[in-house]
Symmetry: C2
Subunit: 331 residues, 2 copies
């Protein structure tokens, strides 16, 4: 038995692959995994709508399915790079993964329900629940999305991950998938969808997954990671192949640059895109004669945002997107 | 133990999903599944090249990986619709599936080998072997591709299927994937790649997977299939939702039309594309008052090719792409 809640990084070797296998995909759960029967589970649709109702996985499966490749990243990914250290899961760089998700646009469920004109947010409630912090009451995991994000055709109620039903650990039978947003928005074990005219004030909206000004987190900050060489890898002198991924909530990467700690930046070659919601592969070849050396990579997205040298420190340790680094030995 | 060679259609319910799960993906094998060690297996690269060599799965995994969504269809899919009947696997409509394949462009292996200027074909040899027909010698499965198809960047040496290593049944550790071509071109358990200045004359190139003029099969003919309603489904009178897939080796679908057996054609709405090598979803809503009725669907691809009412009969029963049909009862 794994300890609950389950929190697992994707193993480093698995990050070589454009699609992370379901078994290797990172996991960030807040409470114990609820075991829901795929045929009997129902999602309530309510709040400020004309017609309340329920929707089943089977009803979604009969809908107009959409398949998208999505890089999900935990908002706390890279938290361990922050100085001074902060509390929270001590994620290194592996709380990011890419999978193929298939589901029905959320609009296909909201449209027939009839949103009231004053709706400003949609709240998503998971079937998982527990104590969010010492001394608090038992709550369900819940997050909201602004209406314009909820209505985007690529915001989907997913029923499949990598071509198979979503395993319980990853939020099955039905998980909300919100491309370009940190993972907390992609609510697992979806149990209720509530249209609301007010900003949602739940624990995970106001006290966690917020910046130091208390604003709820949203889109992924621009970021790159180095996949090869590995940390502390022993390399032969000469031309060294450096590869990795870059992603951003802006929906595209403009360029990635790589350098030695004492050298100048070299522009990496970008690989084939897996679509606007997935990480982009990149590759650069750098020369090095010998010794211990530090590799660094930084990405720039299509909006012009540049990955900073150091992550911006914040109390809860979110969005740590400092330059990717690798220490290697060349001899 | 399954009987060898393994030949399995994708189960009808699995065809509702845009991505077919690895367990449900159709299988067409000619001989027993070879069990190859992923770390020890080597693919020979030879023939008319400057530098012969071998390549391992690990070397491919370290290359510039490319991920594509590909609809594979067995050339014999729908063979049972031919009249008069022909010999061969009596496939109904389920020898078609769609998966996410990750691998390295074949050119990344051929370029360093140095193709001779007179090379016109690349031959691919599988590690599977046996008697192809009574009274013949034991041979390996082998097929060739014209050089321009072999050099296409989306012709890949795949190492992953749906985000995980390719299972033995589906051709792992390394399978050639040739998008837009019938499945016989996507050679499994790849063991050798041979550059050749002559047309390949192997059994599966000259005596099977050929048309009645003896020409090797290539690209997928334009085709649609109806997914819902199911055959013989009992429906209520009124508006009936008809959904399905359409695909073509031309790389895109222009339109799909649906009709009752006595009615006029209605243009279906095309769903989101999964890329040019994958089937395209479609949907149409037709009205029907009652009785037994036949639904029909036909696709037109971007080259203007139209799915014919009846498949063209051929001795070996390949490329059967007559209109999709469904008999339903309405009451």
């Amino acid at each position: 038995m794994a300890l609950e809640p389950v929190n697992l990084e994707a193993p480093s070797p698995s990050l070589v692959s454009p699609i992370t296998s379901t078994g290797d995909h990172f996991v960030r759960n807040h409470f114990a995994v609820p075991r829901l029967h795929p045929d009997e589970h129902r999602i309530r649709v309510g709040g400020a709508v004309a017609r309340k109702g329920v929707v089943s996985r089977a009803a979604l499966a009969a809908g107009g399915l959409r398949t998208i490749i999505v890089t999900l990243e935990c908002a706390g990914n890279g938290r361990s790079t922050l100085l001074p250290p902060v509390e929270g899961e001590p994620w290194r760089a592996g709380a990011v993964s890419t999978a193929v998700w298939t589901g029905v646009p959320l609009t296909d469920v909201l449209d027939p329900a009839g949103l009231r004109d004053d709706v400003s947010e949609i709240v998503f409630v998971g079937a998982d629940h527990g104590l969010p912090a010492p001394g608090r009451q038992v709550i369900a995991f819940a997050r909201s999305l602004p209406i314009h994000v909820a209505l985007h055709p690529d915001t989907i109620l997913a029923i499949e991950m990598n071509g198979a039903p979503i395993p319980a650990r990853h939020g099955g039978p039905v998980r909300l998938i919100v491309p370009a947003w940190y993972g907390m928005a992609s609510v697992k074990w979806l149990a209720a969808i509530e249209a609301s005219p007010q900003p949602f004030a739940g624990f995970f909206q106001r006290e966690r997954y917020v910046d130091d000004e208390g604003r709820p987190l949203g889109r992924l900050a621009v970021k790159s990671m180095i996949v090869t060489p590995a940390q502390e890898e022993l390399l032969s002198p000469g031309w060294i192949d450096v590869t990795g991924w870059a992603w951003s909530g802006a929906g595209g990467i403009d360029r990635v640059e790589v350098s030695w700690h004492d050298g100048k930046w070299v522009q990496a070659e970008l690989g084939v895109s897996l679509g606007r919601w997935a990480w982009r592969p990149w590759r650069a070849v750098l020369h090095r004669a010998g010794g211990v050396a530090w590799l660094r990579a930084r990405a720039t997205d299509v909006s012009g945002a540049v990955q900073p040298e150091f992550p911006r420190w914040n109390r809860l340790g979110y969005g740590a997107n400092g330059w990717a680094t690798r220490r290697v030995q060349i001899r």
